[in-house]
């Protein structure tokens, strides 16, 4: 019993310590940047110039360090990123980016302009990527005993992601195959899946819809796929669920996939779409009898 109480006390103390640590960490006023994503379309051999404003929203001065990094999308391609040393990925644009200054101190509630340039080599083609990190070290003094303090360093960094499309060389293409249409149990929703592969030379953020039509051309049901984010030559799973029950009959499953969500987000255009359809046959109680070829 005593052991249990002791264990319980230790756990509670640990939780209290963590919560104190987290609350002090969250109390830090993070520096702010005015651009979290920058997408350029630059012709080979040409350059673009710009600036990023870093703002200190706290009443304490902040020492900032600026540096470049590479990044990649992590599985399952839902937008989660992994940041890597410069030169780690073949489509790194870090070497094309110059910036100044690399170190500076932000006075309380002040702003600092960081100028940058992106110069694309004459022989480049496709899409290239990098991240510019703004890093600050916070030293938080934690009172320990009477008259004593314990220092703790907390490194916080925020990034601006660079997407560089080499103008005139971009191929935004993808393939979808391996249609999955299944129902696990009688009342379970239908699962719809597609294998997506980026066959172009730029990043693709894609999403889409599916429609189920009867032979008279009436839409029986519709739904949306998850958004995916891919680099060239990488793949992802598009998945959707259909909760509606389907009466016995023959249907056409129509997929409309939008490959231009990244362009739309950057407000620089809309991408191509992929349209596919497949014939499905549903029997009694919604049982799947046949799934046709994706075409």
């Amino acid at each position: 019993m005593k052991k249990t109480i002791f264990k319980g006390s230790v756990i509670i103390l640990f939780i209290l310590f963590l919560s104190g640590f987290l609350s002090s960490a969250s109390a830090v006023d993070l520096p702010n940047i005015n651009k979290s994503k920058i997408r350029f379309s630059i012709a080979p051999g040409k350059a673009e110039y710009g600036e990023i404003i870093v703002e200190n929203q706290s009443s304490e001065p902040r020492s900032m360090r600026v540096y470049l990094s590479d990044w990649d999308y992590l599985p399952p391609a839902d937008g989660t990123k992994e940041f890597l040393p410069v030169g780690s990925i073949p489509l790194s644009s870090a070497a094309w980016i110059s910036f100044s200054p690399a170190e500076f101190t932000l006075s309380p509630f002040s702003k600092q302009k960081v100028d940058y340039s992106v110069k694309v080599p004459a022989n480049a083609s496709g899409g290239y990527y990098a991240a510019l990190f703004f890093e600050s070290i916070f030293t938080k003094a934690q009172p320990a005993k009477e008259g004593m303090q314990v220092g703790m360093n907390l490194v916080i960094r925020i990034a601006t992601l660079f997407y560089v499309d080499v103008e005139g060389t971009v191929k935004r293409t993808a393939s979808v195959d391996n249609l999955l249409f299944k129902k696990d149990a009688g009342n379970a929703p239908y699962s719809i899946g597609l294998d997506f592969r980026n066959t172009g030379n730029v990043d693709i953020s894609a999403g889409g819809t599916f429609h189920i039509m009867d032979d008279k051309g009436m839409v029986i049901s519709r739904g949306e796929f998850n958004d995916i984010h891919t680099f060239p030559a990488s793949g992802a799973k598009l998945a959707a669920a259909l909760k509606d029950s389907l009466p016995k009959g023959e249907y056409d499953l129509v997929f409309t996939l939008d490959l231009g969500k990244a362009l739309e987000e950057a407000n620089i255009g809309r991408g191509p779409i992929i349209t596919k359809e497949a014939r499905i046959s549903i029997g009694e109680n919604g049982k799947i009898l046949d799934i046709g070829q994706l075409k």
Binding site: K46, A47, E48, Y49, R65, V66, Y67, L68, L84, P85, V86, G87, S88, A95, S98, F99, S100, P101, A102, E103, K113, D115, Y116, S117, K119, T209, H211, M213, K216, G217, M218, V219, V254, T256, R270, I273, T275, E277
Partner: protein
Amino acid sequence: MKKFSAILLVLIFFSSLVLPAYGYNLIPEYLCEIGIKFYQEGRYTEALEEFNKALLLEANYKPALQYIHKIETLKSPELPEEENIEVKPEPSRGNRILKRDIVMERILRSEEKRRGRVLAATPKVIALDALLAKVNGALEIQQGESLSLYITGMQRFLVTQPDIIRVERKAPEQILVTGVNIGYTYLHVWDANGLRTLEILTVPVKPAGESLEDMSRRQQEKARNFKLTYSLDWSTYATGRRWDTLKRSNYYYIHNLGSSGETPYGNLDASLAVNRYNNITDVTHYTLGLTNGKFGDFKDFTLRVFDFFDIPPDFSNLAFPGIPLRGAMLASPAFNNKLNYTAFYGKENWSGFASLSPELNQERDAYLEGFNLGFTPTGKQNYKFTLIHGWGQDRDPALKSFGYDLMGDWLLDKWKLGYELANDTKNSANLLKMHYVQPNLSFNAQLRDIDKNFQSITGSAWSQGQLGGLFSFNYSPLDKLQIYSSLDIYKDRLYPAPGNNDSWNEDFNWNSVYRVDPLTSVSLNYALQNELGRISQYRYQSIDAGINRNFKFFKDVNLFLNYYDQENTNFSSPVSDYSNQRIYTGVKINLTRDLYYYASQEINWLTEISTGNKTQPSAFETGLDWSGQIGKSPFFGACRFTYRDEQDTESNLSFLSGEDYIEGYSELSYRPNTDTQVYGSCRVRNVWGDNPNVTKRMEASFNSGMRFLWDTGINWQAIGDIEGYVFKDLNSDGVMGRDEPPVQGIKVWLGKTKSIVTDIFGYYKFKNVRGNKIYVNLDTATIPNGFVLTVPATQAVSINQHQTARVDFGIISRSEIFGYVFEDLNGDNQFGKKDKGVRNTVIILEDGTKRITDSGGKYSFPSVSPGEHEITLDLNTLPVYYLPKTALTKKITLFEGVAYNYNIPLKRTQGTD
């Protein structure tokens, strides 16, 4: 009880009869709704079934019959086809008919357009093939706009976002696409060629004519042009016993000619006025001015010669109340707007109107000159000092030759305090002001002490001889309630009450309005003038309450009713004492769009206190009022007819003239555009009355005139030079410093046609540049690798006449040495995803600068000068189980703007970390 039960049973019986009948009547409508849905989806057979069912229940149900007729028409061979017949359809009778229809439609459209109308409901017809060939990207369709698509061999269609567009199948091979909500959608169509997709963007309805941006740009361009303005106002007034004996008693006209435009030296304006009054004609006013002036570095000044009245900035005070002068005036800011000054000189009473009327004063030998200095140390403080001097033989000898005025204002959060001290070399005037404001309350207090002998430079002073205070507030305790009140307590030392120099006067006002609802408001007001301390002693008080209501009774109607209770006691003249109760009520009715009928009635119950006489002066007025545009023509008109009847107005205290009249007024104006107006108006009044003091007569007045603005299109642009430097902006502040070196060989563009390359000093210059605002661009292709811009690559510059504008461009490079110290797990000497960074390792630059690798093994010397460098790995900081795979020291040649990457691979020899 029995009766009640019987009534209840009867009611139940009737209601049971009504309900099935009601339900029965709805069934055809319901069936039709289903049929219409099928029809819109192109499922005509199913639609026909539903419409026929409806007819079974109600044989002549009109909607069902109409839809059946539509479907039968659609199934006939005369099908519509596309307008743009780029894809050749097979020749058929239907095609011929369609072409004929299209031709007819075009003729109708052009005819309607010519008449200024548009066939709103007729959608465009186009073939899908032709559309896909034309459209690159999304097809834009406006909200509410329809497009008829003809698709050969159409099988079915699908809209991915059905809330964006509405698609109806109008025929087996025709669909009608209508924009509904703003956004993108895809329209899939299956036809003989398989699946085809059209992207559609629904956009808001675009306003007709040019866009706001275009309009704004055009207006800006036009604003620079020189413009001529001319106006003529002509007026005559005639009166007589009858219409045929009317005789002109006054005649007047004025020509105004003006010109204004932007010049390289500021905005120039000039104007001239010629007046005629009866038989005398004279040039009464002429002026020439320059605002926002610029002569080199002397900027933002205002210069005016000849006639002027407004003297900036807000130059009016106790010593100088502000009068028209003929002379010259200069006002300008200085020292970054901290100071502003005004100097002027002019002749008093210049007005040419004096010469038009012999009764008015003639030109006088009287002059004024003055100087005003303003000082604004912060946005919350302001001080002004004025010195004024007057002289001339015709000046009133009692006036002083000099006057001084000092003002100060302070803004303290919600408080604003101010004072003013004026002196005419002998006597003083003092003013202390306070203003408090918050969202629903404002309060003002003003204390004044004006010496009874103090005079302004031109004559009597404001509130001369008064000592007192004025307090007022504006308060909205509720959104619907607004209260304003003021109290003025003062002593009149110039004209005090006879025998009582120390008496005070009180003026009090209370006004409150409560808005009961958006259409109804009630008001309650009180006024007291207790002026017992002035030479004419009286006390007047009035309380009134009123209601105002708008409502709809077939038409918009406005009603008002006010009641007043007034009492006047005049201690200096008791025959003026009275008490009066007054009702004033009226109505205004909107008969048609711009035509109103109005009527009002005023009734007084007046008692003359000194005589005890009681009278009921009253007035009734009614009429019709119309004003508005005549059709869609550029003509605008106004007509008013008024009848007024006053009764019982013989008493001197009735405050009614006793005149009865009928009056007609009409006006016609021609306004083809905003720059032109020609107008004429006429008013005729026939006056009579039962009051013996009223003269029976006819009055007529005629007015006419024109206004005209002519944009000459002439634009006087400045010519100047632009120069500047391209430099290494070492501190990234965008400003060229002494120690910041120039950059040679960078191309700078003037607009899109002219360019120049910076010389050895980083200098460039464009000579004789003509324009108002010019854009200078840095050619970024000529910037060396690794450099960034510290200012925008494109900068706008204003051209000043014969001045040189300067535009500098800062660029900066940063040379860096960085790299990773890592455990080379895959043995390829390259740092990759599978390798592991080693932290807390020290790298030393040749000057002793040290950097410690971070948790990822990275080190960086972020700002290193270009040239030869040497970096060394401090072996002592390396864990013992690692051995470097490269030399400990590396010599590096670093070029400007380059980030040099040097990684140090390590090999593990033993143990673990």
